[in-house]
């Protein structure tokens, strides 16, 4: 106990002296939440649109109103040639081009279908898919309206299938609700894995680790003494992230906050043991940093942080299952947005426990070997 206490005192003194790192650990959750929460919006609206209306009729105006009313298209340019449409899209001034043929009115009178060309800049796939989906439904809605008007049927009687959509857990599609728990997980991964790995590798580089292992200090005491201070840091970051989430983004916490804190410990432990494992492989702080980044990228891409896991090919889906962040995101979104209780989260807890046991076992084995 005396040894463990001395080690903890030392860790806290060093942490206190390293103001920059400490400030980074506090500022990172705040800065990243604000950036991701405000800047990222996967529901892309108000795309700049260029229109070439060859019909210039009441019908074409009505159709264009349908497009703008959806809020997805902002008509910024009205041009009078195909070349001008191309030019606007190529230059990036417009993301969408709508071309209405000259025979629109005539076709409508004779109930003939008219091709309305919608050109979408798909180099940005997120905004392209929004535009495509909306353009299609605008077309269908407008066609339906016209047909019904011709047959003299009122719009409300027309829908035989009345599909009522309820978006559970996030009715208003607020991206921040989805992002904030995700960013919390990402921040914890980045700090915990990297700082833990660096903390041990730094001692190896300066030779103090060698000095420690010739003292009676036990390997498990060293591990505990190194891990405890970072558990505290982890909780500090999680708390800051939650406060920012609630105060700035009105994030609702629908489940038990106690459960959220309790289960966060499994993820912090999983990240820290991963850091210890990295430290047992890396010889220099530079290597430790690079290895940590090697973990971050798949964590961001495969965990379901931004990209839905259900859409991934089997191999990548399986790779995602090896990452602790995948489970933690399910826990976070489950508790925060869905109000899940622990009964629905045993699977994730179990996965994290297995991860901790495996990495810690491997790290201790590798660690005692590298001392040789």
């Amino acid at each position: 106990m005396i040894r463990l206490r001395a080690l903890l005192v030392k860790e806290f003194i060093q942490m206190k002296r390293d103001n920059i790192t400490l400030a980074m650990m506090v500022m990172m959750p705040i800065a990243q939440l604000l950036v991701f929460g405000f800047a990222i919006n996967t529901d892309v609206k108000h795309l700049k649109t260029v229109v070439f209306d060859q019909s210039l009729s009441a019908e074409s105006r009505d159709l264009l109103t349908g497009f703008t009313a959806s809020e997805y298209f902002d008509i910024k340019y009205v041009v009078s040639s195909f070349e001008a449409v191309n030019q606007k899209i190529e230059s990036g001034d417009a993301k969408v081009g709508i071309i209405i043929p000259p025979d629109l009115s005539a076709n409508l009178k004779h109930s003939r279908a008219t091709p309305i060309q919608v050109i979408v800049d798909a180099s940005d796939s997120t905004s392209a898919s929004s535009a495509i989906a909306t353009a299609q439904s605008v077309g269908q809605l407008k066609s339906q309206e016209l047909l019904l008007a011709q047959k003299g049927i009122s719009a409300s009687a027309a829908s035989l299938y009345n599909i009522r959509i309820r978006a559970w857990y996030n009715q208003d599609f607020i991206t921040a609700y989805y992002m904030v728990p995700g960013i919390m997980g990402i921040i914890l991964t980045m700090t915990m894995v990297m700082i833990m790995a660096m903390a041990i590798v730094r001692e190896r580089e300066t030779g103090t680790l060698e000095q420690l292992i010739v003292t009676p200090l036990k390997t498990y005491e060293l591990m505990i003494g190194k891990i405890i201070p970072y558990i505290i840091i982890g909780y500090m970051q999680a708390t800051i992230a939650l406060i920012v989430g609630i105060a700035v983004f009105n994030l609702p916490i629908r489940g038990s906050i106690g459960l959220l804190y309790g289960l966060t410990s499994f993820f912090i432990m999983a990240s820290l043991t991963l850091g210890v494992l990295i430290s047992s492989l890396a010889k220099t702080q530079m290597q430790a940093m690079q290895m940590s980044f090697f973990i971050f990228m798949p964590s961001i891409l495969l965990s379901g942080f931004i990209f839905p896991r259900d859409a991934m090919p089997t191999l990548f889906y399986a790779l995602g299952q090896l990452l602790p962040l995948t489970y933690y995101l399910e826990i976070l979104r489950g508790i925060i947005l869905k109000g899940n209780s622990i009964t629905l989260l045993w699977g994730q807890i179990f996965a994290l426990v297995i991860f901790i046991a495996a990495t810690l076992g491997l790290a201790i084995k590798k660690f005692s070997k590298t001392l040789d």
Partner: protein, 302 residues
């Protein structure tokens, strides 16, 4: 007299490379033992095995009567270790470093207070107690590292190249502390490649390519050289050496020392040097070391 360190065919191999080859090291209790050899000759590897942090490939040994294969934990409690890197925490003060290592050896209360005061006094650091270690000079860092290594009054002290990068005055102060420790009964194993430091030791061992090639007191080792060491005064030592080579006078070794030429030569050939005025001088440890290394190299290449 009891032995503080006793090894039997201690061997350590890393893959195909034999770092330490069947070393039988015997160090008497209370002695200062100098472990001499070039870089990479196996000094540090031997120390790591003796400290119980590296498992030997074969062979065994006892430190303070504890078996290095079985009783590593006991060994760790009773030894002190200081490396060339002066393993201190640069971002902590002198006092904080001492407190930390006191904690590592489970010192508490009055004993901890006394020992820390004693170390501050010994290292002449009383005024620098609250300075950050990073701001200290090499010599002070060295004494602080030593203080951290002997806070718990170890009976056996390992010093791995303790005087690298330290000014001569600090080196002398350091050796005074070492003498004091030895006088109080601490056994000390010190590695160095400063041959003059070997003169400070009660006994010396030469290690080369993982083998212990010679061991004994400095006097014994100096006497063990076959032949005499001669010093020849000359304005142009290189030309002089060329003349001797031309005369086909066999010698063991020759090197330029200041303005003089030093030649090691078997007694029977001394008469052939009558054309040149020479005086017989006592060999330094450096001469002895070079002699043994040459001897060893010949054996290895054979």
């Amino acid at each position: 007299m009891t032995l503080a360190i006793d090894t039997q065919n201690l061997t350590c191999r890393f893959g195909d490379f034999t770092a330490v080859d069947k070393i039988n090291l015997k160090i008497k209790e209370g002695n200062i033992y100098g472990f001499l050899g070039p870089n990479g000759s196996g000094k540090s590897t031997t120390i790591r095995m003796l400290c119980g942090i590296l498992t030997p490939t074969s062979g065994t040994g006892q430190v303070l009567g504890f078996d290095i294969l079985q009783e590593q934990e006991e060994i760790k409690k009773h030894i002190g270790y200081m490396s060339q890197k002066f393993s201190l925490y640069a971002d902590m003060t002198v006092r904080e470093n001492l407190e930390f290592y006191a904690g590592m050896y489970s010192l508490t209360g009055q004993i901890k207070k006394e020992r820390m005061q004693e170390m501050l006094h010994m290292a002449n650091l009383e005024m620098k107690e609250n300075s950050l270690t990073a701001t200290l000079s090499g010599g002070i860092k060295q004494r602080l590292a030593l203080g951290c290594a002997i806070l718990h009054r170890p009976k056996m002290l390992f010093l791995d190249e303790p005087t690298g990068g330290v000014d001569p005055k600090s080196r002398r102060l350091f050796w005074e502390i070492i003498y004091n420790l030895a006088a109080q009964g601490t056994t000390i194993l010190v590695t160095t490649h400063f041959m003059d430091e070997a003169e400070h030791c009660d006994a010396v061992g030469f290690i080369y390519a993982g083998k212990l090639v010679a061991t004994g007191t400095t006097g014994e080792l100096k006497a063990s050289i076959s032949g005499k060491l001669l010093s020849l005064k000359s304005e142009d030592s290189l030309a002089l050496l060329a003349q001797i080579q031309q005369a086909e006078i066999p010698y063991e070794d020759a090197y330029i020392f200041g303005k003089d030429l030093h030649i090691l030569m078997a007694d029977k050939h001394l008469t052939r040097l009558q054309n040149w005025p020479y005086e017989i001088i006592a060999p330094t440890m450096e001469d002895v070391f070079v002699h043994y290394i040459k001897f060893q190299t010949k054996e290895v290449t054979k």
